[in-house]
Symmetry: C2
Subunit: 127 residues, 2 copies
């Protein structure tokens, strides 16, 4: 029993709740790079991993362009000093963005809790 090497397009749509159109679109956008068996797409574990990164990025409100930038950070080439320093800057920017989102989430959760409490109190009074 050896490890699965490839995923078909429908397997991925089923696993992640997306359509084939979406997967082909991401490929057009060079975000995925499945191999071919005749004309059929065969997605590698690497494709699947990247897909997860894409969908996670989308959940966080990043555009595909932003997702692309983030993914490019993950597999950046070695590069020289100047490049590396710029990369660090861009990483710092994204981290700052994410931390802002964290704050936004905490605030929203807190507010929703307050609403929930007041609704609960109403319900108790109706009892």
């Amino acid at each position: 029993m050896t490890k699965r090497r490839y995923y078909t397009i429908t397997e991925l749509t089923a696993e992640f709740g997306i359509t084939t159109r979406t997967l082909r679109f991401y490929e057009d956008e060079k975000l995925l790079n499945p191999e071919r068996q005749a004309r059929k797409r065969l997605y590698t574990p690497r494709d699947r991993t990247r897909l997860k990164l894409i969908l996670r990025g989308k959940r966080l409100g990043f555009s595909l362009a932003e997702v692309r930038e983030i993914i490019e950070m993950y597999d950046h080439a070695p590069g020289e000093r100047g490049q590396l320093e710029k990369l660090q800057d861009r990483i710092a920017e994204r981290q700052a963005e994410l931390e802002q989102k964290q704050k936004d989430i905490l605030e929203t959760l807190e507010e929703l809790n307050q609403v929930n409490s007041s609704v609960q109190q109403r319900l108790n009074e109706l009892k």
Copy 2:
């Protein structure tokens, strides 16, 4: 020195880094409801607060439709039992979403930290 009561459209665009088009669009969408002095819009503190909620929602990747739903939760009418219970369900859904986003953020931050470390190591080697 009494409290400011109104904001002009340009004051808000300046404060939040958005355009007048955006503010008018939100008004078309019934998300804002500025008063008028002749034809000019006068935004109340309440409008400003709602604008902050909208922009925060957008940062978190919510669509305007979703933002609207969330805002409606904030100022829901008293309502009867059935309504209140449905409201609680919807609140719970949003909370779950937000918690998923929190996880996504933590994962991404962690990965960016790893990338940053490896970049830093490269830089040290180049020294």
